[in-house]
Amino acid sequence: MATITEVEVGRVVGTSVKRKEDLKLLTGRARYIDDIELPGMVWMSVVRSPYAHATIGSVDLSAAREAPGVIAAFSGEELAGEWAGSLPCAWPVTEDINMPAHWPLARGKARHVGDGVAVIVAETREQAADAIELVMVDYEPLPAVVDPEAALGEGAPLVHDEFGTNKCYTWALAGGEVDEAFASAAASVKERYRQQRLIPNAIEPRGVIAQPIPGTGDLTLFSATQVPHILRVTLAGVIGMPEAKLRIVAPDVGGGFGSKLNVYAEEALAAALARRLERPVKWIETRSENYLATIHGRDVVQEIELAADADGRVTGVRVKLVAAMGGYLQLVTPGIPLLGAWLYAGAYAIGAYSFECTGVFTHTTPTDAYRGAGRPEATYAVERAMDALARELGKDPVELRRLNFMKEFPATIAAGLTVDSGDYEAHLDRALEILDYDALRREQAERRQAGDPKLLGIGFSTYLEMCGLAPSRILGAIRYVAGGWDAASVRFLPTGAVQLVIGTSPHGQGHVTTFSQIVAERLGVDVDDVEVLHGDTAVSPIGMDTYGSRSLPVGGTAVWHACQKVLDKARLIAAHQLGVTADDLQEEGGTFTAPDGSLVTAKEIAFAAWTAHDLPDGMEPGLEALAVFDPENFSWPAGTHVAVVEVDTETGSVDLRRYVAVDDVGRVINPEIVQGQVQGGLAQGIAQALWEEAVHDEDGNLLTSNMVNYLVPSAAELLSFELDRTETPATTNPMGVKGVGETGTIASTPAVMNAVIDALAPYGVTDIDMPATPERVWRAIHEVKR
């Protein structure tokens, strides 16, 4: 049984050290991309298609070229010679996947509203923006398709003519005897859910500055990116530049949530134009542009079936997805559904499993990773379906879950991976305790009996997720082109300060503080004596960046191993200094103690390693190490989330009354930072259930085209969450940590929707599309009434 809310506290690990990052952010001294100005810098703007599908005839740039301040303007055809390769898609999920060319500017055809068709460079931001209005593009509008199922239909307009179909791929995964499970089932449910399209909305829009370095042919690209290392290797291939001549700098980055985990047209355009014009070129996205030109999330139609025996034990899961890719494939577009492919059985011991996903092109902005990426979709489907099964069987949803939990670990799931550790009843029990579940059910019954127009709903999500991307060999097996390892270098400076260079790339998560704690704990230095460097390929040449809740379980473990390597060398020097053998020394927190009680600290050893006056024979001076860690398994956080809602049956409005989340993310380094990750994730997941939806009209125009009509929640819509943790350490890394960046988003959407449906049980409502707006809720009540 896991202990509850007990952190194994070291000297600094496990304590809520206040963030080292904060001071500059609180005083307006951060340096985000738009804060950077370079001598001779010019501004880029992109002319974008107003049509979702159109042939591009002539592009007349003559008036724009004459406009005040305009330096240059180019159409897609005119820049065709700049590209050595298409914008990258690094995840061709099947051998026969349809992979279209994706040029930084469209040629011949535009395939979504916002597709770039021409580019302008001017002396100022305003001049570049004004000149867009002077560009005359001869478009021939064509019929568009925005719904992924419609796109598969006979006669649907084709996004890419050359394939003769809008199908991108079909990918399948199976384990156990699924047909048999359904044939012999005592009960089964078949559900269909719509994962609406979402817009990530990092509060900082994207931006890029490409700076040519005169005399060397080098190029430095500053970008608001989550992935400087991936950007370097892939962009080099797009612009035809040797990787070694391209330096990527991620300055302070204002949030990402997956939307900056990509290689975008504007990065390639700015680089190519800077090279061509020999001046630094800057582009800053406007928010309205962001809604069209930065990737979207979700947009999946899901069918899930559960088979169960007479006791309610789930024996089989069958899943079919139709997932919208959008007009092109961005960096990992096709792979997003695969990230959830193992999770449609949730936290439950289910012996038979079948998953199939068909990716489909539509005339929309490409989809890609948005916080959770594939796993919120999976969790939503299985947690909603478990409630449907509970209704079918007349069982309490809590008891159905408890009956089906995986209980023995390590647990190999039917889909074929192994969950290293967990204790699902522990967090379920803790959540029920915080909630006072029985009292809430009593209140619910009383309100129903009294005919209260405001009904109470209680919704559960006992999720399991899979993160910490990822074991390289598994990524290879599912045709992702890169690895999943990460790197860290630890270097003692002469004074005993420590320089830590990391391959992950923070944009709000607090890596600098958390990783400083790991180093401080292991090497016996102060948190403030650790300098953490990141986000610049000239400083941190190797790494796999930040996404998929990987920074701590993968990158943080690399930090741990690099510290271990430093300690291994320090031990040899200590033994030399103290005149004992290395094995005789006890080490704790960076201090080596000999049997006679004499001791020396890593800090002192660092100075000796720097002077190199008296080192063991043949030893290199200096005290530093690089570690590259490739995880042997994914990270498997789990937890119980419970939403309590009040639904006003007269207006259809849903009021979130309580939200309880008990997560097991293994051992934690900084509890407050972990809590912050959960809180932010909850806001996003709850928002999918209740408010957010990217809506297109049938011509492919984005109707929710800015923050006025796409409802990112404010503080007024949300509440203070009730959080706790249980702790079963991961067994696949030395610190026992699991990822936490996406748990809140993954777990919360089904908890809220299950609560809404639970509230409306007296009306017989069993499904409402997300987001559960007052109109949809009201209609659901009245349609069933009728």
């Binding site: 952010l25 609180l26 005083t27 204002g254 309205s288 944009h507 503080a715 203070s720």
Partner: protein, 154 residues
């Protein structure tokens, strides 16, 4: 172009402005005060919030020329004599920021809120800050930070 005199963080500035120039770009690009951020183009996100004569305004919806004769405080001008403002300290103590992009706007909006309502309830804080969006924190710790400065129970 119009001659404009405006006091920013206690310093009087004489500026020659185009009538269409937004205050946020006057601050960022003419005065180099890049702590005021731009997060949208519809006055929705509040990242550009500054104080105009002590009251919070979204500087993307104020023309530079409208600021003539007024006093502007940006995030760079909030600390006094090197000591962080109580609201800045509270955001740090309560982990009320992650990526930091919305933070200057939130801090200034919160300062203005407490000027108007020194003892707000949690509900009043939440509604008082609804013009500012944060995508990282889920707002829980922002509300706690503001409560701690207001002296209300956290």
């Amino acid at each position: 172009m119009r001659q404009v005199s405006v006091t920013v963080n206690g310093v009087r500035q004489e500026l020659l402005l185009e009538p269409r120039e937004l205050l946020v770009y006057v601050l960022r690009e003419r005065l180099g005060l890049t702590g005021t951020n731009v997060g949208c183009d519809t006055s929705s996100c509040g990242a550009c919030t500054v104080l105009l004569d002590g009251e919070s305004v979204k500087s993307c919806t104020v023309l530079g020329v409208q600021a003539a004769g007024h006093e502007i405080t940006t995030i760079e001008g909030l600390a006094e004599n090197g000591a962080l403002h109580a609201m800045q300290r509270a955001f740090h103590e309560h982990h009320a920021l992650q990526c930091g992009y919305c933070t200057p706007g939130f801090v200034l909006a919160a300062v203005s809120l407490l000027e108007e309502h020194p003892n707000p309830t949690e509900e009043e804080i939440r509604h008082g800050l609804e013009g500012n969006l944060c995508r990282c924190t889920g707002y829980v710790n922002i509300v706690r930070a503001v409560q701690s400065v207001a002296g209300s129970p956290v």
